[in-house]
């Protein structure tokens, strides 16, 4: 499984770096990778169906409990098949859709990076690696939405999506860390078995909230939905793949994965039902009033995601079963519709539904593909969509107290979604031929074969429903939920309530479709409610944050070193004082202070004199020299207290500092002017307070035992564990090696910063 994921990333790198030769028909070959992965995962299906599961662990950061562990079970399998299967069609389709695009290499690089991270996401058995892959999908989605990087709106949409999903992801990380704390492990398969441990935990509410934040942002639940319609700025293959079939379902995956753990706990079910219902009603209602074909599909996707979240909220085995089937159903018909829309866009040069009519004559096969997807979305017999809708209805009906209300809402949304599906899949093809539709235009085969393939798969799975049911869906339910369902897929279940409801929906949807006229008028009406939209709130928030921080920057970062120092010290003083106010151990013994040698006393006297000289002199050179003297005295003190490492470092640093000062002396005024006594007094107070606080801290450290324990540990283990006799060095390169690594990185960054700032200045000087 690691191989599959690494393969995607490796090819992503190859394409981004050396993909310049990716031209013409060779591009089709890229689809071989998802195809072979699809076959690979399909090959594992047999042993998976008989209750087996695949687990592989590669150690990564074992000391923190973070391993690259991957686990393939029923739920993951549904997702891997969708990712690789839809991936195959999208790769094939994009080769034609973006033929001759100058950045095709990059496109496939990003796409493969996405596929790798999405596979990693659904296969991860470790919370932290899941999070990493989760964020990687957000990042690759950012690149892909902004693929047309000259389009300002596309860039903005990419940023919005990244901020929303990435921000949600960070909250999710918080939840994951809390889960790891409660469970003592990051292994997902172990955590989902610890239900009783979690229901007693005080962190339960927080964890669930954090997971919601991650899942709702990723899966575009209300009120975080607005990034998804914006993301339609991406090329259509991207919208197909990321923003309908796979990535947006990551949130659903997360919720489904943890549903056994949190089902029945506090507000889990209620919140999911509530948010899911609001989302699908909102999405369905918005969808039919849009005139852009992709916008219609975006809102239906939001609605479908809402239905999925609601099903997880209901949480019965029937609902989970309906969810698993519906994930598959939705991926198939929505990807098909998206690909059809992409082709229509290429043929007519527009996606405006009011302008495109009568395509049936010129593109027959595309029409068939669109119709197949549309009837699957409508839930007509015998497509897989029919089964999906039946399962949803029956599970909602039996969902208990809220059942009837939910059912009414679900049916209402289904009617709207059915109408929206027909608007995309049927409307552009019927009626008199409009002027936008070219009479004769050659459509490349890849542009209609792929949606047709998806449509036929949906049809095939609907007719021969037993094989996917027995092999894929029931084992998946078994592994996820452990239950069995009474209501399974049937082509004919008699004329019961379900039958009438189903056909009633279809009839109502068709009537709505016949009498409904899409128009641009509706979007104008929308603008009136702009101020109530969550997007508006977010944008205002961002503007205010910018304003606040630009104000703060002007106050705090005004370019004078003396202010920076004063601000930093004042902040530290406040922080330390607050800490001391709460916990402060006094009762120091000062006997040690009386125990000094003549050398120490002499050094300290020299030091004090130097300090006074540095403070009261009016010549800058004298001030620098006296500060150097203070540094050397400190070196001596280090030597007296047998800390040769510190002494050496201090000495060399002092030497270099003096060199730097000498270099800079030219630039500074020779004499220190001390006009403003107020400033002097302020600085005196700040520095004295800080000095006092540091003294207290040092005493505190001296008199608390824990410090001794730590230094004893290092002293005892330096040679045993790290084979070094110089404890200071062993701490630097071994015990706290990661710290040192980060420190030298900071050092490197600051060096480069100084270099580039001076270069910049030199460039500006030269221009003058």
């Amino acid at each position: 499984m690691l191989t599959a994921i690494v393969l995607c990333f490796a090819f992503a790198l190859v394409f981004t770096l050396f993909g310049k030769h990716l031209r013409g028909r060779i591009t089709y070959l890229t689809s071989l990778l998802p195809l072979s992965l699809f076959i690979y995962f399909l090959g594992l299906q047999n042993s998976l169906s008989s209750g087996g599961e695949f687990l592989s662990i590669y150690p990564w950061i074992s000391s923190l409990g973070i391993d690259l562990s991957f686990r393939l079970d029923g739920l993951s399998q549904i997702f891997t098949l969708i990712i690789t299967g839809i991936g195959f069609t999208v790769f094939l389709y994009a080769a034609e859709y973006l033929r001759g695009h100058p950045f095709l290499d990059r496109f496939y690089g990003y796409l493969l990076m996405f596929m790798g991270s999405m596979l990693g996401l659904v296969l991860s058995d470790n919370l932290i690696t899941l999070f990493i892959f989760w964020e990687l999908t957000s990042i690759s989605s950012f690149f892909l939405i902004g693929f047309n990087h000259r389009d300002q709106k596309a860039r903005k949409a990419a940023l919005t999506a990244l901020v929303i999903t990435g921000g949600g992801g960070l909250f999710m990380l918080l939840g994951f860390v809390l889960m790891g704390m409660v469970a003592g492990t990051y292994s997902i398969s172990e955590i989902v078995l610890m239900k009783s441990l979690f229901s007693d935990s005080i962190y339960l509410g927080l964890i669930v909230l954090a997971l919601f934040a991650g899942a709702f942002t990723k899966s575009a639940q209300f009120p975080f939905h607005f990034w998804l319609p914006d993301a339609m700025r991406a090329p259509t293959p991207i919208s197909t793949y990321l923003h309908s079939a796979t990535m947006v379902k990551a949130g659903v995956y997360l919720l489904a994965r943890f549903s056994p753990l949190f089902d029945g706990e506090i507000y889990w079910n209620e919140a999911l039902i509530l948010f899911g219902t609001i989302t699908f009603i909102y999405g369905a209602a918005q969808s039919i009033f849009k005139t852009d074909l992709k916008a219609i599909l975006a809102y239906t996707t939001i609605a479908a995601l809402g239905i999925m979240v609601m099903l997880i909220g209901i949480g019965t085995s029937a609902a989970i079963y309906a969810l698993l089937v519906f994930i598959c159903v939705h991926a198939l018909y929505k990807a098909g519709l998206f690909l059809v829309v992409g082709s229509i866009d290429k043929i007519c040069g527009t996606r405006d539904i009011t302008k495109i009519r009568g395509l049936r004559n010129t593109s027959v096969v595309l029409f068939v593909a669109a119709l197949l997807a549309a009837i699957s979305s409508a839930g007509l017999i015998p497509t897989i969509g029919y089964h999906g809708k039946h399962l949803i209805y029956s599970s909602v009906m039996e969902s208990g107290a809220w059942g009837i209300g939910l059912l009414v809402l679900t049916i209402a949304a289904s009617i709207l979604l059915l109408c929206a599906g027909l608007l995309v899949g049927l409307k552009p093809f019927t009626g008199p031929v409009s002027p936008e539709v070219p009479l004769q235009k050659h459509t490349p085969p890849a542009m209609w074969i792929t949606p047709l393939l998806l449509g036929l798969t949906g049809l095939g799975m609907g007719i021969f429903y037993r094989a996917p049911q027995e092999l894929l869906f029931l084992p998946a339910l078994e592994s996820l939920h452990g239950g069995i369902v009474s209501k399974q897929m049937h082509l004919w279940s008699g004329t019961d309530t379900l039958f009438w409801l189903s056909w009633g929906t279809v009839l109502a949807g068709i009537i709505l479709f016949v009498f409904f006229r899409p128009s641009h008028e509706y979007s104008k009406r929308d603008k009136k409610f702009k101020k109530f939209h969550s997007r508006y709130l977010l944008e205002q928030g961002v503007i205010n944050v910018k304003r606040t921080f630009s104000f703060l920057t002007h106050v705090l970062q005004n370019g004078y070193l003396r202010y920076y120092t004063a601000v930093i010290l004042t902040f530290l003083i406040v922080l330390i004082s607050l800490r001391m106010y709460t916990g402060f151990e006094n009762g120091y013994e000062f006997e040690f202070a009386l125990d000094f040698t003549f050398n120490e006393l002499a050094t300290i006297i020299v030091m004090v004199v130097s300090i006074l000289l540095a403070v009261f002199t009016t010549s800058r050179v004298v001030a620098v020299a006296s500060l150097g003297g203070v540094g050397l005295c400190i070196c001596l003190l280090f030597v007296y207290f047998s800390a040769p490492d510190l002494a050496m470092t201090q000495f060399t640093i002092d030497t270099l500092t003096v060199v730097l000062f000498v270099l800079l002396l030219k630039k500074l005024p020779l004499y220190l002017s001390k006009v403003d006594t107020g400033v002097n007094w302020r600085d005196l107070i700040i520095s004295c307070t800080f000095g006092l606080l540091v003294t207290i801290i040092t005493l505190e450290i001296l008199f608390t035992g824990s410090v001794k324990e730590i230094s004893n540990f290092y002293a005892e283990n330096a040679y045993l564990l790290a084979k070094g006799k110089n404890v200071v060095n062993v701490i630097l390169v071994d015990f706290r090696g990661v710290d040192t690594l980060i420190e030298i990185t900071v050092l490197a960054v600051s060096g480069l910063g100084v270099f580039s700032l001076i270069r910049l200045k030199m460039g500006i000087d030269r221009e003058r």
Partner: protein, 138 residues
């Protein structure tokens, strides 16, 4: 600042100080020293030479921009941390060679790590000082 004494002394001081800095770097694991101090001493060696003979002299001596040492050092340290992962151990676990040698003690990936620190320190110190000095010369 081209006094005869400093110029004559720097010719002898620089190689000695550079040697000393390497010595300090190598002995770090057993005795006071290490990459950080070693790097600082090496910077002082080069800066003193630069002072006496001019920045251009030291540039032609080095043949490359000292800034190049910064990424070299960071990658060296990172690689020394990554090496144990190929041996199936977690990031930053030390790997040791058998046997002890004078000055160095037992060599291991910690020494590579420290060498990286050494390069970063030399690179950063020289980059900053040379940039400022160049700016002054104009």
């Amino acid at each position: 600042m081209t006094t005869l004494i400093l110029r004559t002394a720097s010719v002898y001081l620089m190689p000695l100080l550079l040697l000393f800095s390497v010595f300090i770097l190598l002995r770090g694991h057993y005795l006071p020293g290490g990459g950080f101090v070693g790097g600082l001493i090496a910077s002082i060696a080069l800066v003193v030479y630069g002072y006496a003979n001019g920045i251009n002299q030291i540039k032609s001596f080095l043949r490359f921009h000292p800034g190049a040492l910064i990424p070299t050092g960071v990658s060296l340290s990172l690689i020394s941390g990554l090496l144990p992962m190929f041996a199936g151990k977690p990031f930053m676990t030390n790997l040791w060679l058998d046997g002890t040698y004078p000055i160095i003690g037992q060599p291991g990936t910690a020494l590579i790590f420290d060498t990286g620190v050494y390069f970063v320190v030399v690179g950063t110190a020289l980059t900053i000082i040379f940039s400022i000095a160049e700016d002054n010369e104009k």
